[in-house]
Amino acid sequence: MSITLVRLSRPGRGASPHARDIRKLMIAGESNDPMPLLEARDLSYSRNDEPVFGPLDFRLHAGEVVLIEGDNGSGKTTLLRVLSGLLAPGGGSVRLNGENLTVARLSHQVALLGHQPGLKADLTPLENLNFAIGVFGLRAGITPHLALSSVGLEGYEDVPTRQLSAGQKKRVSLARLLLVPAALWLLDEPYANLDREGIDLVNRLLDAQARRGGAALVTSHGAYAFTSGSPRRLPLRATA
């Protein structure tokens, strides 16, 4: 797995010269690439005229995992929401497989794991996963049972999700990632709530995703490190 960690700074107020340097470096280093899976150019987002992040330039190729690092409030979650299409970018463009994307186009190939697990507490993990398959489709060669057992939830198929711990819910949403046929994973704090073994699990899943030609952007506030490789990092910094 080629793990990458990209460094981002927030715009304006003295941070920008640093950001520009990094942008130049990154563009120079990647100028004659094959077509990237995900490409962001001059991407920025502002909320009520307050810059949240950017402008950013980065590329993500098939088989890459990029760790976005930043303090609380540095715009990691917002970046993922923009890349997933939930938020319209304030400036710049996002391209997926070289195509300029509207929200709808993006959604076909992107899976987002947000802060909330996106599971119904009254349904069992199996029912939740079957719903996800109905809406997002099913990756070849996997079943909901298989996905649940590969995240270590064998035997929890028919337990109401409300009875699971926060870490187990996280594992169910990881199982959903395994099932849906998305090439790009956007994972917002996937390590939160997980035990040591769960963190290894996330790393194994990322490894497998990279090996089958997918890519992933992962946010982390820096408390957890990848156990293997030297990841490409994309840190975001808060300006205040």
């Binding site: 939930l86 802060h115 119904k120």
Partner: protein, 227 residues
């Protein structure tokens, strides 16, 4: 790889929402109980004089059902918004208006339809003439989906806010006024022996229009609310 079709996505959503309602079937009865209690309040306040109640019975039934529907509206997207499944729904590769349309349909099935079922009992409690009952049911069958569709747009607008209950009522009730006027108007006309078809046809026309436009407006409003 198996990518779901639009139909399979809607079917999955309908199945899930029906299952969720079934798991919380006690809650599903609340709007019906609310409507019954509101209707019971009127004879208590106005006195049990049958002729007086009969004159205003259709109006009372409609207002009670409208208010019950209003109370049930908040549940349409709130749960999905809180647990993050609304985000997943917006990110799904299928047209959002179509998915929201299925959600609204299930919501009507689980709140509007039980209210229609209980309406004859409410009408009987208020001495509505039996000859008017078919008109009342026809008006309800056209009006309750309209209430769900209009309501869904307003719920989508307010879903990002906390404690939006009162605001939601203020947004929705003006939209409900024309529905109430035509639906109650049809019953009042039938009760006075006048032609009642025109208001029903107006309701039908509005329903046809809302069926097409409300899911689109709902999707646009939802995208604004979650951003």
């Amino acid at each position: 790889m198996r990518y779901g079709t639009n139909a399979s996505a809607c079917a999955a959503l309908v199945r899930r929402d029906l299952l969720l309602t079934w798991r919380r079937r006690g809650d599903a009865l609340n709007p019906v109980l609310f409507a019954v209690i509101v209707v019971v309040l009127f004879p208590l306040a106005l006195g049990p004089e049958p002729n007086q109640l009969a004159r205003i019975s259709a109006g009372i039934v409609f207002v009670a059902i409208l208010l019950a529907g209003l109370l049930a509206l908040d549940t349409l997207f709130r749960g999905d918004h809180e647990d993050g499944s609304l985000e997943q729904l917006v990110l799904s590769p299928h047209p959002l208006p179509l998915l929201l349309g299925s959600k609204i349909a299930v919501h009507w099935l689980t709140t509007g339809l039980p209210l229609i079922v209980v309406a004859p009992v409410l009408a009987e409690m208020l001495h509505l003439p039996r000859s008017v009952l078919p008109v009342l049911l026809a008006a309800l069958a056209l009006a309750t989906p309209l209430l769900s569709l209009f309501g869904a747009v307003c719920v989508a607008l307010t879903v990002g806010m906390r404690r939006s209950g009162m605001l939601l009522a203020l947004l929705v009730l003006p939209l409900y006024v024309p529905v109430l006027i035509f639906a109650a108007g049809a019953c009042n006309a039938a009760q006075s022996g006048l032609a009642y078809l025109a208001p029903l046809l107006w309701l039908g026309a509005a329903l046809a229009l809302a069926l097409v436009l409300a899911p689109l407006a709902c999707a646009a409003a939802l995208r604004i609310s979650i951003s």
